[in-house]
C-alpha cells in the first residue's frame, strides 16, 4: 500500500513501548502491531486522535504517502 505508517519511528523518538501506547490509547497490542507493520486497511479517526494525543504528534507525522 502507498500509505506508510511511521509508528515505530515515533515510538523510538518518544521512548515509548508498544505495550505502553496500547494501554494509553485503549486498543490491543495485536491491533497496534497490525498498524505498526503496515498491514492495516483503515484507521478510525478516533484511533488516530488517541495516538496523536499520546505521541504528541500530527497525523502527517504518523502517516505518509509513498507512491508504489
Amino acid at each position: 500500500m502507498a500509505i506508510v505508517v511511521s509508528l515505530d519511528v515515533l515510538l523510538v523518538r518518544r521512548k515509548m513501548s508498544l505495550t505502553e501506547l496500547a494501554d494509553r490509547v485503549g486498543i490491543t497490542i495485536a491491533n497496534l502491531s497490525i498498524l505498526k507493520t503496515n498491514k492495516a486497511r483503515a484507521i478510525r479517526f478516533s484511533t488516530l486522535d488517541a495516538i496523536c494525543r499520546e505521541l504528541d504528534c500530527q497525523p502527517g507525522d504518523l502517516l505518509a504517502h509513498e507512491p508504489d
Binding site: 486498543i27 491491533n31 497496534l32 497490525i34 498498524l35 498491514k39 492495516a40 486497511r41 483503515a42 484507521i43 478510525r44 484511533t47
Partner: protein, 214 residues
C-alpha cells in the same frame, strides 16, 4: 453462538455426514459393480436396466392421439395424451445396456456427494464461528456451478443416453421416445448460489476490511 443455533448446526452436520458416508458407500458399490460387470456378464447372464422414456412422438411434449368412442361421448371431439413419462425396465444379456445407466448414476451421485461435502465444510466454518471467508465464497460458487451442470448437462446426457439405448430396444406395443426434461428448478438454484457467492465474496472482503481497521 446461541444454544439452539448450535443444536441446529449439530443436527444438520449429522444429517450431512450420514448422507455423505452413505453416498460414498453407494458410489463405491456402483463403481465396484461397473468394474466387475464385464466379468459377470461375460457368460451371457441376464441383468436389469432402467431408462427414462416418454410415450408418443416429439421430444419436449411427446403426444399420442387417442381414439374416442364417439357413440359414448359425442361431445368429445379429440383426445391427446400429452407428456406421459415413465421408466422402461428391461432384462437383457447385453452388458453395455446395463453399464451405461449405472455410469450415469455414478456420475450424478458423484456430483451430489461433491455438493454435500462442500456443505459439510461450510458448516464446519459456521460452527467454528468464522463463516464469512473467501474460501466459503468459492465453495458456494463451486456448488452453483455443479448445480448448473446437473440442471443443464444432466438432462442432455440423460436424453442422449436414453435415445441411444431406445434405438437398440425395439418395443412394438407403444411409440416410446427419450424425454428431454428441463430442470428449471435446479438451474435457478444454481444461479441463485452463483449470485449468493458473489455477495458472499463481497461480504468476506468487507469482513477482512473490518478486521484490519484499527
Amino acid at each position: 453462538m446461541p444454544g439452539r443455533a448450535l443444536q441446529w448446526i449439530t443436527a444438520t452436520r449429522l444429517l450431512l455426514d450420514v448422507m455423505f458416508y452413505f453416498g460414498l458407500v453407494g458410489a463405491a458399490g456402483i463403481a465396484i459393480w461397473l468394474a466387475l460387470s464385464p466379468l459377470v456378464m461375460r457368460d451371457g447372464r441376464p441383468g436389469n436396466a432402467t431408462l427414462p422414456v416418454a410415450v408418443g412422438e416429439g421430444v419436449l411434449y411427446p403426444t399420442v392421439d387417442l381414439a374416442v368412442d364417439r357413440a359414448a361421448a359425442p361431445e368429445v371431439t379429440q383426445a391427446v395424451l400429452v407428456g406421459a413419462r415413465g421408466e422402461l425396465r428391461i432384462e437383457t444379456t447385453d452388458w453395455s445396456l446395463q453399464f451405461l445407466p449405472n455410469l450415469g448414476m455414478l456420475l450424478a451421485l458423484g456430483i451430489v456427494l461433491a455438493i454435500v461435502n462442500l456443505l459439510r465444510r461450510m458448516l464446519r466454518t459456521v460452527r467454528a464461528g468464522d463463516p464469512f471467508t473467501e474460501v466459503n465464497g468459492r465453495r458456494l460458487r463451486a456448488m452453483g456451478l455443479l448445480l448448473l451442470a446437473v440442471g443443464v448437462i444432466g438432462p442432455l446426457l440423460e436424453y442422449l443416453l436414453a435415445r441411444a439405448m431406445l434405438a437398440r430396444i425395439p418395443v412394438a406395443d407403444l411409440t416410446l421416445v427419450a424425454p428431454l426434461d428441463a430442470q428449471t428448478e435446479v438451474v435457478l438454484a444454481g444461479l441463485l448460489l452463483l449470485v449468493l457467492s458473489a455477495v458472499f465474496a463481497r461480504g468476506a472482503e468487507l469482513e477482512r476490511d473490518r478486521s484490519l481497521t484499527i
